[in-house]
Subunit: 560 residues, 2 copies
């Protein structure tokens, strides 16, 4: 009897399909599928690449989920960062399934859903340590340390075998809230046997061990000790433990704390409400109260650690903030590392703050920031605790995944048990075998304002051309019957040259268009597409010769 | 008699006026002025900031030089990097003065001038160690180590006192060509008394000592030893010593060297010709010959270490290079650090190379790159050798200058002898006093194609708006006499939405424009500016409501 059962089960296949987060930092989303049952891990967004002009954010292409919507049992969340929950407002508009996450994760998510007019009725709160059953899956939420509280890794028991997903994690032996990554749980799972592990690769290129969050407290203490005037600390709003450390240090130095920046205010409020931040009565003051205190009695915690153009700190640096003006004697602590791509914006902000006379504390050697991700020695420990049969490096650009795969190999894992793939790849496992088995649709959907996916490659290509050399619009009114020009050609340009200083160029441009139109008339060219094409070519050639630029040229014929 | 003379001289003032390179990395240019005599140091370009859409490069605003063109005695160059010589093709079109530089510097410059159709008759070659007299200035060219050979610092003897300008430098005790920074010269100058020192601040935030260029050779040796197939090394074309080390290592491992990328080919040819690169007969082969050799007999030196979109390495990574296709087994060495702002492009190139199966050697810990700029301990030595009375930190973003000023202060220099200023600042010195004395016009001129300075803020603002949300053009033909619409409105959009999927939106947009035009007619609005403004408002409001985007709206009225 058991044997029959065993055979039936051993024929089952487990599929792991990443829809985001492999080969990129961001929009993490992974599908776990056994037969007709699907579990989804996370649903994150990514910030647009530099060449995605005008795009606000990027979310995973969920075509696969929409095609299989009836099979989805639940979405489980590892933590409350944007790259893990930020796509949910869009996903939940299309897919109605229960969502499980820890309290802080859901607290932050609820705010996002509200902003987007999405009902949060499907959210179910779990505790670190809980195990829930959804469909054929039994999902355990395992406490991990990360740069946001209430983060979890996952154990997912499936009919085929046990999966461990580390989530984003580090191993902090002296965490701020005293709650360490649950080593024992990972170790127990390892003892019982883990079929597949997926693990965070963000810091797989970094040797050694990521320092404890607590080390930042010591750096804060030093900076506070040296500061004579006001202190301004910029950090990620989601780094609740960091904010707690600012508050703790402020209390020691008898300073009040004001909170600035929309997302910072939101997260601090949620965290205070849920008990993730503790502050003695009266410590936290409203930003409008800062004028009631002397500089040396104040700390301002603010957004803008990435030099984001509209953020509070950037505005202060530009002398453009309504409520806070930087004065000589201010100490500004940048408690964050620039995310790749933001280096220049951060440098500029630092420069502008210094020009206003602020003392700016920043940079790795000052110890005012630590990463939330495991470095190589931590990854090695995790691999040794979990000892999976198969391994898929996740959460990282391709080079991070490659490095993590190498690390696993160095630890003795056979090369063919390590799966290096990207979004859309189907990783298929039985109890003793793993293969890469084809692909599903995966990719990115660009969100621009209210439009989700309505900006595609053609629109982006146009924006790129417009951004480089601008546009010239040539308008002619033509008589339909006679095919003769009645009015125009008029040329209007934007983003091409400063017209007042380029009159000769524009006059000659008009002349070239007139010549082209005359040629069309002489040669009896009647199709408007052909006329437009002639105008475009003649004008484009002339402008390139004169300016070495290729603006977009848009001929418009009005017919009367 | 001598006393009178002394008085006369002591009344003279020395002005140092940076026109570029202070508060930024790039477009270095400094004016030295005593009475009616001007000497210019360097004339560099800067690559455009991210928000300078479509701009090719940025050069200093030389209004001050044009206003004082008769006073300029010469331009002296410190080395052949773009940020020190790149603006000369533009400057020499407007100012005709002798230019002095070392042989390699002029060799590279000549190529640039030729490309821009500028005569190179005014170039005068000097040797490291030479002293020349121009006007009242006596200029010494002092050998320094940098990431390009033939680099110099300058001693400038003026009637008021001695100036030392370090140029870009590092202290390399084991340089590739055996020629060390000329410590003795700096020390001698220090002994005789230096009034003002300007010194490179690029690495002023870096503690310790910048490693010797020779350490890269050891890293190359290791990488070559491990490589089984072809080796591709990407580096800056101007890093001639680096290229020499690639050649030396290739010779040891019995490999031939092919050179790829326009600027790389140019610099290697000039360097071979002038003797700055040595290669045994037959070592360097043409890129078209690579198919005559087996993979393990080949090294390709290429541009593209910054992930530049059109560079050879980026094309290889995109499987888009005509002559070289990456295959598994290739080893690619990225012998450079990403310049701030290029991090993401470099990561992408690495990822794409890895996806094609290449083994990519990159990153600080691999030792395949070292900086060409002095770190803190080297700066301290330079300050101690030269012991100037006054100090101006140059070549760096503002935070670099601030850090360098701090370093000087820590070495015991009085705070009021250190001058922290930016481009356009007049630093004025007598024999015993220094002050900041007003400002001259300084700034940036943007070069776009053949246009120098014809793209200004209005054009850039338009490009920015166009790049974000695209453009809608509304054309109406109106009868002048009756003020009635004869044809249209027609709406054409680019870079806004994918029109085929947004028909309803565009139909409604047209209806809104029609309503606005009707309202104008009803209300007897006759001025076309007013009609246009009504159309723009009505359409803009509707589109923002529906899409949360703000495309540029361009109403055009054709009159008949």
């Amino acid at each position: 009897m058991w044997r029959c059962n065993f055979l039936a089960k051993s024929a089952q296949k487990l599929q792991i399909i990443p829809l985001g987060g492999l080969g990129e930092i961001g929009k993490n989303m992974t599908v776990i599928r056994v037969d007709d049952e699907i579990l989804v891990i996370d649903s994150g967004l990514m910030f647009p690449e530099e060449d995605m002009l005008g795009i606000d954010l990027v979310i995973p292409d969920i075509s696969y989920l929409l095609e299989n919507r009836d099979k989805i049992k639940a979405i489980v969340l590892t933590h409350g960062h944007e790259d893990h929950i930020g796509a949910l407002p869009y996903v939940l508009k299309q897919i109605h399934v229960p969502v499980y996450g820890t309290r802080l994760t859901l607290g932050i998510l609820e705010g996002r859903l509200k902003e987007n007019g999405v009902d949060s009725g499907s959210l179910h709160s779990v505790m670190q340590g809980d195990i829930i059953n959804v469909g054929c899956f039994s999902v355990g939420f395992i406490r991990v340390n990360h740069s946001i509280p209430d983060a979890v890794g996952l154990s997912i028991k499936t009919p085929v075998g046990m999966i461990v997903h580390t989530g984003d994690f580090k191993l902090d032996y002296t965490p701020i809230d005293g709650k360490m990554t649950d080593f024992r749980r990972f170790s127990d799972l390892g003892n019982k046997g883990v079929l597949v592990m997926m693990a965070d690769s963000t810091n797989s290129e970094r040797s050694g061990h990521t320092p404890s969050e607590r080390t930042v407290g010591a750096a804060f203490d030093k900076a506070f000790h040296n500061a004579r005037g006001r202190i301004i600390v910029a950090t990620f709003s989601s780094n609740v433990h960091r904010i707690q450390q600012v508050i703790d240090t402020a209390v020691r130095y008898k300073r009040r704390v004001a909170v600035l920046g929309r997302s910072m205010v939101n997260v601090v409020n949620i965290s205070l409400e849920l008990g993730y931040i503790q502050a003695p009565e009266g410590t936290i003051i409203d930003i409008d109260e800062i004028n009631n205190f002397r500089s040396e009695q104040l700390v301002i915690v603010t957004t803008g650690s990435q030099g984001e153009p509209m953020s509070a700190l950037t505005r202060m640096a530009m002398s453009d903030h309504r409520k806070v003006s930087i004065v000589p004697g201010d100490t500004v602590i940048i408690s964050a590392t620039p995310i790749p791509g933001n280096e220049k914006m951060v440098s500029k902000t630092i420069d502008n703050l210094m020009r206003l006379g602020a003392n700016v504390v920043y940079g790795r050697d000052k110890g005012v920031h630590v990463s939330g991700h495991a470095s190589q020695e931590e990854l090695k420990l995790m691999h040794n605790l979990v000892r999976p049969k198969f391994f898929i490096p996740v959460h990282g650009e391709y080079h991070h995944l490659v490095q993590h795969a190498k690390l696993a190999q160095e630890l003795g894992m056979p090369k063919d048990h390590i799966f290096l793939g990207e979004n859309g790849q189907i990783f298929e496992f039985t109890r003793d075998k793993g293969v890469m088995a084809g692909k599903v649709t995966a990719g990115m959907v660009m969100v621009d304002g209210l439009g989700v996916g309505d900006v595609g490659n053609i629109v982006l290509r146009d924006r790129r051309q417009l951004s480089q050399d601008g546009i010239l619009i040539v308008v002619v009114t033509m008589d339909k019957a006679s095919n003769r020009v009645v009015s125009g050609p008029d040329i209007v340009s934007r983003g091409f040259v400063y017209v007042r200083e380029s009159e000769a160029l524009m006059d000659e441009a008009r002349a070239r268009v007139e010549q082209a139109l005359e040629r069309c008339e002489d040669e009896n060219v009647k199709e408007w597409a052909a006329i437009k094409s002639n105008v475009r070519d003649a004008l484009g050639r002339y402008l390139f010769e004169k300016t070495r630029r290729r603006p977009m040229i848009l001929p418009i014929i009005m017919e009367i």
